[in-house]
C-alpha cells in the first residue's frame, strides 16, 4: 500500500530529516513510527502526503509514484489519504457536523450523500449528539474525534496520523487509539507517528523506530523500546 525506496530528505542548510529510508507497508497494516523529537517521524508523514518533495528516492502510495506526481494531481492523492494531526486542524467557525461535511463538500459530493455519510461517521466516533457544537465547546479528546471523523468520512484506504494523542491525557488517548484500531479493522492502512510509549506497548503492532532520519528498527509486533537480549 505504501512503499518508500531509499528516501532521503535534506532541508536547506543541510539538515538531514530522512536518510535513505526504505519501508514497505502492506494493505490493512497498523504501523507506528517511533523515535525522539527530531528523529524524522513527522517528515516521513509529510513526504507520504506530498506536503514536501523528497530530495532523493521514491515513494509509492496506493500503487502510484507520488514523487513524480504533477502538482495538479496532489489533491487526488490527498483524497485517498486521511490525515490526523496533534493540533486537530478544525475550522473554529464551523460546527462539528460542518467540519466533517467539509471534507466531502470539497470533493463535490451531493448533499444527499453527505448527510447520511456524516451521520454514520459521527456515530462511529460517538459524537452524534454534539454535531451542532463548535470546536471550542468540545474537550481535546472530542476535538480529536472530530478530526478522525473528518479524515475517515471519505473512507480513505490510508490514514496518516502525526502524534494524534500528543495533546491528550492517557485516558482520552486510549479512547482515540480504540477508535483508530476500529477503523484499522475495516481494512484501512494506518501509519501513526508517536512518542507515546504506553500506547505503542499496549497495541502490539508493527513498530518502525527512527533515529536521526534513519530506520534503526522494524519490528513486526514490537514495543516502543527494542527488546532486550
Amino acid at each position: 500500500m505504501i512503499r518508500l525506496d531509499n528516501v532521503t530528505k535534506v532541508y536547506e542548510g543541510g539538515t538531514i530529516a530522512a536518510n535513505n529510508v526504505s519501508l514497505d507497508i502492506q494493505k490493512g497494516e497498523f504501523v507506528f513510527l517511533v523515535g525522539a523529537s527530531g528523529s524524522g517521524k513527522s517528515t516521513l508523514i509529510r513526504l507520504m502526503l506530498r506536503d514536501e518533495p523528497v530530495t532523493r528516492g521514491k515513494i509509492w502510495v496506493a500503487g502510484k509514484d507520488i514523487t513524480t506526481l504533477p502538482k495538479w494531481k496532489i489533491p487526488y492523492l490527498r483524497r485517498s489519504v486521511g490525515t490526523v494531526f496533534q493540533d486537530y486542524k478544525l475550522l473554529p467557525n464551523k460546527t462539528v457536523r460542518e467540519n466533517v461535511a467539509f471534507a466531502l463538500e470539497v470533493l463535490g459530493r451531493p448533499q444527499s450523500v453527505i448527510g447520511p455519510q456524516v451521520d454514520q461517521v459521527l456515530e462511529l466516533v460517538g459524537l452524534e449528539d454534539k454535531a451542532q457544537r463548535y470546536p471550542k465547546q468540545l474537550s481535546g479528546g472530542e476535538q480529536q474525534r472530530v478530526s478522525v471523523a473528518r479524515s475517515f468520512v471519505n473512507r480513505p484506504p490510508i490514514m496518516l496520523c502525526d502524534e494524534p494523542t500528543g495533546n491528550l491525557d492517557p485516558k482520552t488517548s486510549v479512547g482515540i487509539m480504540k477508535l483508530l484500531d476500529r477503523i484499522n479493522r475495516t481494512g484501512t492502512t494506518i501509519v501513526m507517528a508517536t512518542h507515546d510509549h504506553a500506547i505503542v506497548d499496549a497495541m502490539k503492532r508493527r513498530v518502525v523506530a527512527l533515529e536521526n532520519g534513519k530506520v534503526v528498527r522494524d519490528d513486526e509486533t514490537g514495543g516502543y523500546e527494542a527488546a532486550q537480549g
Binding site: 536547506e12 490527498r78 467557525n93 471534507a103 463538500e105 470539497v106 470533493l107 448533499q111
Partner: protein, 307 residues
C-alpha cells in the same frame, strides 16, 4: 449544483466575515471608478457643447443703420447677398431691428429694468455659419474691410477652438486617469484578497489537506473579488449618474452651456464599467492568490519544522 452552491456560500461567508476589509476594497473601486467615469462625463459634456457651438452661428456682423452716415438704402441686402457667395460660408441670415429687439427681450426677460430702452438702438445683423470653424479669421477680416456698413464683428470661434483643445487635453488626461485608477483598483482588490486569504489561511491549509484542488480553493476568492468589483463599479456608476442628473437639472436655466448627458451614454459606459469592475475583481483576486497557492502547493520552500 451542490458544489456551485457550496462555493457561493463560502464566498458570501467570507464577504460577511471580513466586512471591514471588503468595505475598504469596495470603497477603493468606487473612488477609482467614480473619478474615471466623472472624467469621461466631463469630457462628454465638453464634446456635446463643442458640437452644439460648432453647429450654430459662428460669426455675427452688427450693422450700421441704413440711411445713416452715408450708408445707402439696400446696403444690408447687398452685403448679405455678397457674403452668401463667399467661400467658407455655409449660410448667412439677416436679423433686422425687430428681430434683434425680440431676441433682446427674450434674453433679458428676467431683468425688466434692462428692457426699458429704445428698441431702435439695437442694430440689425448678419449671422454667418461657416463650413469650417478655422475660417473664422479670414471671414472676420473681410467683414472688417466693410467698415462703413459693418459696425462690429463678433465671433465665438476662438472660444470654440479653445474648447476643442481643452477637450483634446481632457481626452488624454481622462484616458490616463482611467488607466491609472483602473490599475489602482486591481491592486487594491489584490491586496484585499491577500488579506482575506491571510485571515483564512488555516481554512485554506485544511482545504488542501482534505484534497481540495487549487481551483476549488480559488473560486470563492475569485467570486469574492468579482462581487467587490461589481459593487464598487455599480456604486460609482450610480453616483456619477446621480451627480450628472442633478447637474443637468441645475443647468437647465443656463442656456449657453449644456450640462446633460444622454441615457445611452450612461447605459453604454455604465455597462462597460460594471464589466471592468468585475474583471478588475477577478484579476485582482488571481494576483492576490497566485503567490499564496504557489507557496502552498506542497512544493514550497524547504523549511525544517518539527521533523
Amino acid at each position: 449544483m451542490s458544489r456551485v452552491l457550496f462555493l457561493l456560500r463560502e464566498a458570501m461567508t467570507s464577504l460577511r466575515r471580513n466586512i471591514l476589509i471588503v468595505a475598504g476594497a469596495v470603497l477603493a473601486v468606487f473612488i477609482s471608478l467614480t473619478l474615471a467615469l466623472g472624467a469621461l462625463v466631463v469630457n462628454e459634456i465638453l464634446r456635446l457643447n463643442t458640437i452644439a457651438w460648432q453647429q450654430g452661428v459662428h460669426v455675427i456682423a452688427f450693422l450700421n443703420d441704413e440711411g445713416d452716415s452715408g450708408i445707402p438704402m439696400g446696403a444690408h441686402g447687398d452685403l448679405l447677398a455678397e457674403i452668401q457667395t463667399w467661400d467658407g460660408v455655409k449660410g448667412a441670415s439677416y436679423w433686422d431691428k425687430t428681430m434683434a429687439w425680440e431676441e433682446y427681450q427674450e434674453l433679458f426677460a428676467g431683468q425688466p429694468e434692462l428692457l426699458d430702452i429704445d428698441p431702435t438702438i439695437l442694430p440689425a445683423s448678419i449671422r454667418i455659419e461657416l463650413t469650417d470653424i478655422e475660417l473664422h479669421s479670414s471671414i472676420r477680416f473681410r467683414l472688417e474691410q466693410r467698415a462703413g456698413v459693418v459696425r462690429q464683428v463678433a465671433t465665438a470661434a476662438e472660444s470654440i477652438e479653445q474648447l476643442q483643445s481643452l477637450s483634446n487635453v481632457l481626452n488624454v488626461l481622462g484616458l490616463g486617469m482611467a488607466i491609472v485608477l483602473g490599475v489602482a483598483a486591481v491592486v487594491l482588490i489584490a491586496n484585499t484578497i491577500r488579506l482575506a486569504i491571510y485571515a483564512r489561511r488555516d481554512e485554506v491549509s485544511i482545504m488542501k489537506l482534505v484534497g481540495a484542488s487549487n481551483w476549488f480553493i480559488r473560486v470563492p476568492f475569485l467570486l469574492e473579488g468579482m462581487i467587490e468589483g461589481l459593487i464598487g463599479a455599480a456604486l460609482a456608476v450610480f453616483a456619477v449618474w446621480l451627480g450628472t442628473s442633478n447637474l443637468a437639472r441645475a443647468g437647465q436655466s443656463f442656456a449657453l452651456f449644456r450640462l446633460d448627458v444622454s441615457q445611452v451614454f450612461f447605459f453604454r459606459w455604465g455597462l462597460l464599467f460594471l464589466i471592468f469592475g468585475a474583471a478588475a475583481g477577478v484579476v485582482g483576486s488571481m494576483l492576490g492568490l497566485s503567490k499564496y497557492l504557489r507557496d502552498a502547493d506542497g512544493t514550497g520552500p524547504d523549511v525544517p519544522t518539527g521533523f
